[in-house]
């Protein structure tokens, strides 16, 4: 698995596959078979992958437990919508809105990060959580600016297509390219000076500070970059689905969902974060509704209900036989089992894995696992 050539071919293959997908015209076929517009579903997955990469910078590289990433996602989405929608006097165009969303979210990240980053562990987690809730409530209540509970709709898309069958294609490519660029950016940053500084902070903040790293600044840079990527994802999200959806979409639940994706995939691992998004959000957004519509079409619920007379029992049967109603439990069980049996995630980063299993490893190697040169890491992949 650590063979770099295998990964290179796999990644290139996936990339080519995703690039070709809209061109070969299978989307219509998939739609007919499964009732899901897979193309636009994939766009959303790309967007969430960008968001997860953003969280990965803060949580995976720097080790700060961040429970409010969705707030920056929401800030990006709302900045974009306000700058693009007809109801406001701006309409600056997609590229400018995208830049504004990224910069705005990153600035918000700096704003929260600057006073609070000296907090440790759980206290920092609570502040990020609290900030997330403040943002959600503010989005909901500032009706003059954000429209309150009713989402901003009709966000214009770049290269808008008249034909509804191909309308999703431009955003699909934009999101894919954004994901690719973010991935490459982080890939490079990971081994750069600042990337190694993030890692040093995660492994031991005090020791890193003793070595002359300016912990506050480094943490702040991770926080701002994470927020910026979340803002980018928010912008793409609002444009892809053409609405901001309502402010509740940017609350704690979504932050935790993205957190779960990053952890499931493997902390500090870029591939892992993306895989986590495809598994968890794919399951949530694509597989669950598919299964439910399949159950509905099969008429199984009705046949079970027919044998019952008590209306309460019938209602209970319907509840138990709806797949969506089991979703949370499946999520929970997956998380618990993961933490028990594979806490480093599905595609762990070599470094984090060493940290988690440092006891066995150090015995064998007789020197601390932390002394790994970036070159060694490159070999491992």
């Amino acid at each position: 698995m650590n063979n770099w050539r295998f990964w290179l071919y796999l990644e290139l293959g996936l990339l080519v596959g995703f690039l070709l997908y809209p061109l070969v015209g299978v989307d219509g076929v998939v739609l007919q078979w499964t009732g899901r517009p897979l193309g636009s579903d994939l766009t959303i997955l790309f967007v969430f992958a960008v968001l997860a990469l953003g969280l990965n910078v803060v949580l995976g590289y720097t080790g700060l437990l961040h429970l409010g990433i969705a707030a920056f996602f929401g800030i990006g989405a709302y900045i974009t919508a306000i700058l693009l929608v007809r109801d406001y006097p701006f309409q600056v165009g997609f590229v400018a809105a995208l830049a504004a969303a990224v910069v705005g979210a990153a600035l918000a990240g700096l704003l929260v990060g600057a006073p609070t980053l000296r907090l440790r562990g759980d206290y920092l987690a609570l502040v990020t959580l609290g900030f997330g809730e403040v943002v959600r409530v503010t989005l909901r209540n500032f009706e003059n600016l954000t429209g309150g509970m009713s989402p901003l709709t009709n966000v214009p898309q770049p290269f808008q297509q008249a034909n509804p069958a191909v309308a999703w294609i431009p955003m699909y490519y934009i999101a894919l390219v954004a994901l690719l660029l973010s991935y490459l950016l982080l890939r490079r940053l990971e081994l750069s000076r600042v990337g190694r500084a993030w890692n040093a902070i995660r492994e031991d903040e005090l020791a890193a500070a003793c070595m002359g790293l300016r912990a506050a600044r480094i943490k702040l840079s991770a926080f701002a970059l994470g927020a910026g990527l979340a803002g980018l994802a928010g912008c793409l999200y609002a444009v892809s689905i053409r609405t901001t959806s309502d402010p509740e979409a940017y609350g704690f639940n979504r932050s935790v969902l993205v957190l779960c994706c990053v952890i499931l995939g493997g902390l500090g691992s870029l591939r892992g974060a993306i895989l986590g998004v495809f598994l968890l959000i794919g399951f949530d957004n694509i597989l669950t509704p598919m299964l439910d519509s399949a159950i509905q079409r099969s008429g199984f619920v009705e046949s079970v209900q027919a044998s019952m007379t008590d209306p309460e029992a019938r209602e209970l049967a319907r509840r138990l036989l709806t797949f969506t109603n089991w979703k949370l439990a499946i999520f929970g069980i997956v998380l618990v089992l993961m933490m028990r049996f594979r806490p480093e995630g599905l595609l762990p980063s070599a470094r984090v894995q060493l940290e988690l299993h440092s006891e066995e490893e150090t015995k064998a190697q007789d020197h601390p696992s932390r002394i790994i040169r970036p070159a060694d890491l490159r070999e491992r992949r």
Partner: protein, 320 residues
């Protein structure tokens, strides 16, 4: 001018009444939040785990209370004796159930992770929270359910008094405050309580002194679970509406309260709970209901900036 002064003379006394009313609501709400916060703080104090599932355990307790009342057939218009009986039954059964559940989860989920990095049990707790929510969803359905109002809402100060203090307010305080006192006495003066404090300070050292750390942690989860059960019953009796997501909302407030007071500290949780209760009720009275969440977390952020370990938490020196 004249209108303004007229308004002032009329509004002033009633403004004081409103303030007093908000304070009463706030204190009642605050004791409930404090009780839930105690559950967070007990578990955190001993194994440094933010038990995200605690709020959902409260919710499951409320669900069980609802089912139990339906089973014994006590509804809205129950007689006084029946209502009393019903409350006694749920106050006895629900805490046992939630305590057992919490203990089971600890043995099954958290215990194997004692030596794992901090994030592992935390994520597991999020997972357990999802599982509990799902159980609640399948149990009582996605819609909010009304809980029989067993406690009359007559004003104890007489019908024409300006401030309302109801039996309900009294009930919350009458159950919660003795529980808190009992807990404090327990942790301070009993053998198990001392063992708990020792384990919290240093599990390894405690073990070397002959304290069975593992059993002590189990006992903490039992007590935390029982507290969740009591909170669930009180919540249901006081608010009278339950839904599968109440655990999330109240859990968030309670967790905030615990951190605000200094997580791991029992008086801190009580203080934090009271503050959050007051902020909620004064906030919804004077700023607007819909801003209360932002207000609470705003205050929390400001307090943590100036006191990074919470109000009553002590600063720890860092060691390499």
């Amino acid at each position: 001018m004249m209108i303004a002064s007229l308004f002032a003379t009329v509004a002033l006394p009633s403004a004081w009444d409103t303030l007093a009313q908000h304070c009463i609501t706030g204190l009642t709400n605050g004791t409930l939040i404090a009780l839930i916060a105690l559950g967070y703080t007990m578990v955190y104090g001993i194994i440094e785990l933010v038990n995200f599932a605690h709020g959902d355990l409260v919710m499951l307790g409320a669900c069980l209370a609802l089912t139990l009342l339906a089973l014994v057939g006590i509804g809205d218009n129950a007689s006084l004796e029946a209502a009393f009986l019903g409350i006694a039954v749920i106050l006895l059964v629900v805490p046992v159930f939630t305590a057992g559940l919490n203990y089971g989860v600890d043995r099954l989920v958290y215990k194997p992770l004692r030596k794992a990095p901090r994030l592992a049990p935390l994520v597991s707790a999020i997972g357990v929270s999802y599982i509990f929510q799902n159980i609640g969803l399948l149990w009582i359905g996605p819609a909010d359910r009304s809980f029989p109002s067993l406690i009359p809402e007559t004003n104890l100060l007489g019908n024409d008094a300006l401030v309302r203090v109801t039996w309900k307010d009294l009930m919350v305080v009458a159950i919660t405050v003795p529980l808190m006192i009992a807990l404090t006495v327990f942790v301070k003066y009993t053998k198990l309580g001392t063992a708990m404090r020792a384990t919290a300070q240093d599990p390894l050292a405690a073990q070397l002194m002959g304290i069975p750390s593992d059993r002590v942690i189990g006992a903490t989860f039992l007590i935390g679970g029982a507290l969740a059960g009591f909170s669930g019953v009180i919540y249901a009796l006081y608010i009278n509406v339950i839904g599968y997501q109440i655990g999330f909302q109240y859990g968030l407030y309670a967790f905030t309260a615990a951190v605000l007071g200094g997580i791991g500290k029992i008086p801190g949780a009580v203080l934090g709970g009271l503050i959050i209760g007051m902020v909620r009720s004064l906030g919804s009275g004077y700023v607007g209901e819909r801003w209360t969440a932002a207000l609470i977390f705003g205050i929390l952020i400001v307090i943590l900036i100036f006191r990074p370990s919470g109000l009553l938490g002590e600063r720890r020196r860092e060691k390499v």
